[in-house]
Amino acid sequence: MKPILEVNNLTMDFGGLRAIDHLNISINKGEIAALIGPNGAGKTTFFNCITGIYTPTGGDICISPDGGTKERINGLKPNVVTRKGLARTFQNIRLFNSMTVLENVMIGCHPVTKSGVLGAIFRTRATQAEEKLIVERSYAILEKIGLEMYVNELAVNLPYGAQRRLEIARAMATDPFLLLLDEPAAGMNPQETLELDELIIKLRDEDKVSILLIEHDMKLVMSLSDNIHVVDYGKKIAEGGPEEIRNNPLVIKAYLGEEIDA
């Protein structure tokens, strides 16, 4: 099977600090992969590099959404990367707070729609049809993610767990082939985490989207992941299935007593 995301020798320096050091990661189609590592290991920086927020100092990031020809996406702007089918959520929630829940998802529809200023002013047929489509599509996504009771609520007013899920809903609206989740379970209670587990599997099975998640909740990581990548100080120290990772001495050492049990 050919990978849909292939990262080779990725390096990111901040001044003298090497946050990512010759990292190689590849993600296969239909896979749920996890990226784990201690605090400050460079996980979020990795996401920021592949989504265009940072331009990496070195290495290659290649995508091939349909498993066909590869395309190098280093240094592209974040909005272009999103249009190519990589969508992400943020560790520190970044919702559009003055907008409603539905509108947040409608923003996510931006890359798959196209009406402009004139269309909006004259409210042409095409714009009206597109607007209707955006609303329906967004509502359907909210239903799938289980947020439909909040449609017209302002995003700031949502409970924490719901805000995290709204970030996922918004990312799904951009119609990605690979969804990047940065600590989706952070701050959730056990019940919410359980629902998140089901949701992620549902997205993979029903929406045919591959998933790469950063997570500190080892129980969630172990139950979800097909493949786990472990980084420490920007370097990859291990890769494999949950069972392998759990018993890997290097990983245990990196976590220094942090127990990895599920």
Binding site: I53, F96, M99, I107, H110, G116, V117, E131, R170
Partner: protein, 397 residues
Amino acid sequence: MIVNTEIKKSFLASAWFMFLTFPIMVIKVNTVSDTIEWRWMNMVGVGVGAFFLSMLWRYLLVKKEMGGKKEKTDKPSLLQTVLGQRRFAIPALVILGIFTLVFPHLFSMYQTNIMISALIYVMLGLGLNIVVGLAGLLDLGYVAFFAVGAYSYALLNLHFGMTFWVGLPLGGLLAGCFGLILGYPVLRLRGDYLAIVTLGFGEIIRLVLENWNEFSYGPSGIANIPKPSLFGLDLSLDHKTIYLFYILVALVIFTIFVINRLQDSRIGRAWIALKDDEIACQAMGIDKAKTKLRAFALGATWAGMGGVIFAAKTTFINPASFTIWESVIILCTVVLGGMGSISGVIAGALLLILLPEYLRDFGEFRMITFGTVLVLMMVFRPGGIVENVRKTYTFKR
């Protein structure tokens, strides 16, 4: 207990005020008879006044803290609920419409002229609302585009005899181009940096107009700019003013129409997303540069059209009409009225322009009142007079 400390704080504040104002309010040197007059009553007045104002301030702050617990709500205010219902909104609109139509016949030319100025500011406020209220770009040089519009019409008329009706779209277009020209270099800037650069840009335009005599006739300006004509009819001055008033009303309605459609469109949502969170906005596939430039250009277009009308109204323009102060007032109408809210901006513009006109008797206190009101608004009602309420959607399933 709390009340006691509050009283103590207010007391201190009033003592400070008495001390600070002592030299100017109490001591008066009579230069003719070389005596000093001690006006102790003034000091008492300042003390008591400061004490009560300070108490009022504290009371409002406490009240706000109590109310602020609920965080942001999207509950519309009473006024908005009432106006949101068709059976109230339609009669209200009809009455407002009739009032506007008969206004110039009901009131004097002086009043009509004041109303024209106010409506120009409504247009400018609504235009700047795109840039500041929707896209969240703090633009302090907005008056530059107003100037571009006014000078476009004045110069094109002077050299090529261009009429108002050609000048209006052309002035808007030219100002829009200037919006793009300014927008491009400041794409990377945000917040206060952006404010400073745009402020500089506004001053540059004014200084160019002031010093480039061959082009803009310098400080002496351009006179005899014609008012719009009606099918070549020879109208009296009063009728021309009334005609201009109606043109302006139509343009304001057009502006409201356009902005209303824009703000709930795909483009409008992109602006608000950009204001809320630039990084998340880009991560949603929105082109930051394009979105910002669109806001700048559209906002500038409206300023340009406002400028053309301003030139036609005053029939004389010079750089003195386009100072930073104008930018500040327009920005205040947006902030005071309610960022992003159309009715708020209209209310803000009418209040800020009409009140000072009718309060001329207050003279130098106008500016102080103006400043105080703004500070109070920022502290107690940061959302503005009419807060922006997002559109809701209904689904029956």
